[in-house]
């Protein structure tokens, strides 16, 4: 008997990745808005807006990965 956690079936994992990525993207947006509100100085404001964009980029990457078709999966 394997001691590892039960693995999540691939389609379910991809579904959850899609939505996790799409939910991370608004989080990045709110980080950018918070930077504008909280940091009047240009340097930290720019840095935190870039952090917000980085979070959005990560979310986009996860969403793309979640949507990537397992080759041939939808080719019935």
């Amino acid at each position: 008997m394997s001691g590892g956690r039960p693995s999540i079936p691939m389609p379910e994992r991809e579904e959850s990745m899609k939505y996790a990525g799409l939910l991370a993207m608004p989080a990045g947006f709110f980080l950018s808005i918070a930077a504008v509100l909280l940091f009047p100085a240009p340097a930290p404001r720019t840095a935190f807006v870039l952090c917000g964009l980085a979070v959005e980029g990560l979310g986009l990457a996860v969403a793309v990965r979640g949507h990537m078709e397992a080759r041939g999966e939808k080719l019935s």
């Binding site: 899609k18 799409l22 939910l23 993207m25 608004p26 989080a27 990045g28 947006f29 709110f30 950018s32 808005i33 504008v36 509100l37 240009p42 404001r45 720019t46 807006v49 870039l50 917000g52 964009l53 979070v55 959005e56 979310g59 986009l60 969403a63 793309v64 949507h67 990537m68 078709e69 080759r71 041939g72 939808k74 080719l75 019935s76």
Partner: protein, 433 residues
Amino acid sequence: MTPLLTQAALPFSEATFALTLALLMLAPLAIAGVALINAGLGRSRSAAQSLLGNVAILAVTAMVFALIGATWVGAAGGAGHTFQLAGQSWNWLGAAPLLLGGFSSALPQTQLALCFEFLAVALAAMLPWGSGADRWRLTAGCAAAAVMAAIVFPLVAHWIWGGGWLAQLGVNFGLGAGFLDGGGAATVNVLGGLSALAVVWIAGPRKGKFPKEGLSTALPGHNAVYVLFGCLLALVGWLAWNVAGAVLWLHAPLSALPVTAVNTLLSASGAIMATFTVTHIRFGKPDASLCANGWMAGLVASSACAGLVTPLEAIFTGVVAGIITPLLVELLELALSIDDPSGAITVHAAGGLWGLLAVGVFAPQAGQLVAQLVGISALLGLVLPVVYLLFWLLNRVLPFRVDPDGERIGMDLHELGGGAYPEFVIHRDESYR
């Protein structure tokens, strides 16, 4: 170049009104160009459905925008829905009269702005149609266009053109002149390109595009002549579009308009030369459809910055767009399994984002770069998930994807009952064996 945005908005002279109106009559050539490109990059068995879809989307967006959308776009300085946060007023939605009320008696620039927005919403909604080619049902495409015209476009256009919170970033937070988008790079191209991504994700790839083993199948566009002629038509439309946009949204004086036009041409020229070179190096010969994509990416990038940069900066912007385009098309298809026949995600979303960033990079005002980054953040972080959610819900009600048999025989026969080229035999598709 003196930034146009520092000019105060003055009442339009008769000459400015007449010129802008004439430009807006030429701007639909951009729509015609994109429609031809969409049709040419699709397959011959879906050509009539593709072009009919473009016309239908134009009609649907005009109706829905007149009935609902125009109310929510509002006008700069007009009424809007606001909320208070951190001591600032955030104007997030317009509140213009319903059903174009007061349109005929509005200020001349308000009337022209609304004309511009009618064209903008149509073009934005046509971009995902090209990406969903060969598998997206006509009724679902029209319904998606209606959603864009009623909800998504008005929201974004109000933020940027209607005096919304992105436009006020300069006044409220000292970020340059606020988010700038003179020719619709954000409101039209990035919005349309991101909507295309949502459609491609929801509808999935064309049958046979990504086989179980090996590389993806090349499904080349059926008519390179349509595509390249569409590029030429689009140039005329884009020139009119960017110059009219500079007048309406950047308050450019007449003397600044020739530079805007030249920058548009230079950006597209730099882009196609860069794409030509990149594809020549990579494949041994220049690729016609990728060069067309590069040309369009240059035009799209110019939509953001043509009225705000020097000619040299416009060339640089175009060259970067032209280098990015073929590489990103390849990345999306080969590495990320994204089937985008018209290349709208690369050309319009990525090209538009780069143009918007270039405005911030080249702007002389302090804080303009941050304003552009915040706008980009709103487009990626808020607009894309909202569009995805709306399209996902719509797909539950009205399935996007045609049934497998329809995809096999082609959208023309399946949806219209007749092909675009009845005198020609459509060859058998090897991928269905």
